[in-house]
């Protein structure tokens, strides 16, 4: 044990080097990259590919205005976007309503441990399935159409939403409820003044965040026949109707940007109070 101050070099030399960890990480990365190189062959760019890439890029600057500004028919961009928003909205709402009891039943400060483990296992299983798989399953239930999209997004939302709800519930401050108890409140008053105000802000924020994600999912669910703007966009790309692609892409981009903006404004207000 020396009492003198160490020089910079000595101090640096004393730091752990994590040599094994670093070499292991780099070696693992190299193996994965080699495997990727082997199994994901580069197909090369054909002339057609280059032409398609150029067409898609230019389509955004040259959209079909008929389609973009069509407010009346069901094929117009505006109607499709409204339908997409409606699917996402109802899906989020149902998913959130189902998540609330599920989250309460899986919170460790409310239910016994063995019970919450069951709930959390169920939530994890729901979360792992890809959204499109749910879509393909619900097509068999409700047939093609936007209703299938609603059901798909509802069940796909449950995983993430209830996971975040559980975190909020487990963060409940018991002191407030004890204080209400001490001042003579009954159970309903305790829930009204002690629990709901603590949860409402976070729950709303989570639901709005999920709505933002669901809007993006709703655009791709069209692919499995579940309504929204996705299907027309995919058809337009496959049929090389570049002007329509441009109109649909512009609509989609503006729509998602506006929703993101509103969502972040509301969530900021909920988080900070102003």
């Amino acid at each position: 044990m020396t009492t003198r101050k160490l020089t910079v070099q000595e101090q640096l030399a004393k730091w752990p080097s994590h040599m094994v960890l670093k070499v292991g990480a780099v070696a693992g990365l190299i193996i994965l990259l080699a495997l990727s190189y082997y199994y994901i062959p580069y197909p090369g760019l054909t002339d057609t590919g280059i032409r398609i890439a150029r067409n898609i890029l230019f389509s955004i600057f040259n959209p079909s205005l008929d389609l973009l500004l069509d407010f009346s028919t069901k094929n117009g961009v505006v109607y499709l976007l409204f339908e997409t928003a409606a699917i996402a909205f109802l899906g989020t709402l149902i998913g959130t309503l189902v998540s609330i009891p599920l989250a309460f039943l899986s919170s460790r400060n409310i239910m016994p441990n063995w019970f919450t483990n069951l709930g959390i296992a169920l939530i994890t299983i729901i979360r792992t399935f890809p959204t499109v798989v749910y879509g393909l399953m619900f097509i068999r239930v409700a047939g093609p159409g936007p209703f299938t999209g609603v059901l798909t997004l509802a069940i796909a939302s449950i995983g993430m939403v209830s996971k975040l709800f559980i975190e909020t519930i487990e963060d409940l401050d018991p002191g407030i409820i004890e204080a209400l108890d001490a001042s003579g409140c009954n159970t309903i008053q305790k829930i009204q003044y002690g629990i709901i105000p603590q949860l409402l802000g976070n729950f709303t924020s989570t639901a709005i965040y999920r709505f933002e994600i669901n809007v993006k999912y709703a655009t791709i669910l069209g692919m499995v026949g579940a309504g929204g703007i996705g299907a027309p966009l995919i058809f337009a790309i496959s049929a090389y109707r570049w002007k329509d692609v441009g109109a649909l892409l512009i609509g989609l981009i503006i729509f998602v940007l506006v929703i993101e903006l509103i969502s972040s404004k509301i969530r900021k207000k909920l988080a900070t109070g102003e």
Partner: protein, 273 residues
Amino acid sequence: MEKIKKFFLPRPIILSSGKIVQPKLSPMVYILPILGIAIYYSAQLTRFKFSTLINRGSQFFVIVGRMIPPNPAYFERAWMPLLITILMSVFGTIIGSAFSLPAAYVSSENMVKNKYAKLAFRAIFSILRTIPLLILAIIFRNIFGLGAFAGTMAVGVFTFTIMTKMFYELIDTADMGPFEAIESSGASRVQAFWSGIMPQLWGQYIALILYNFEMNIRNAAILGYVGAGGIGILLNERLAWRAYADVGIILIALMVTVYLIESLSRHIRKRLL
């Protein structure tokens, strides 16, 4: 009008000092009607029917029931596409994150002095970010042809857009002290960034990469649906054939993979932060 307002206002509270306090109008007074109207029109637009749900809802569980017991023999065909799915996400995540580093640099508030340049970069990246992964996959499939390469590119671009945003937010809030010290000793801004800012952020940067990797595994599983490689193509084919026992084993394999990768990634992230 006054009467309507009074109807919605909560009852005034009379304090013990005799003072009358009027509580504020609850925001629910206008939030609830808006929600109600939104629900009504959304239900109209999506042709929401409870009768379908009640009559045919059990069908969903019939399908789930048919997946049990899963068909383990099918795993022999499924493991290879699953490996390709994993490799697509690995490669896509690495490429996307690598490119996101300079992109985040040019769109961060404290590194770029020109306000308009920063805003222009951010606008471009925001627009790219709105395009869903599956649409990217379809675009790349049309450019590069069917196969895993198109999917990898889609994952790469998708990761790039998300990582860029997450990382420039980190750079914005980094401690500028070391940067200024290094810059004042004669280093260029990029050099100062590399040795003054990045050492603060490496841990968080790697944590972000792992987080994106977790998400990508789940997202890449569906890319096969549009012909962009991986396990999705089998999922689609088996579901179309109604070979639910095969779907069951694919989903279980996927679930185990996602679980293992998430556990590993969570373990590493906990050590990093």
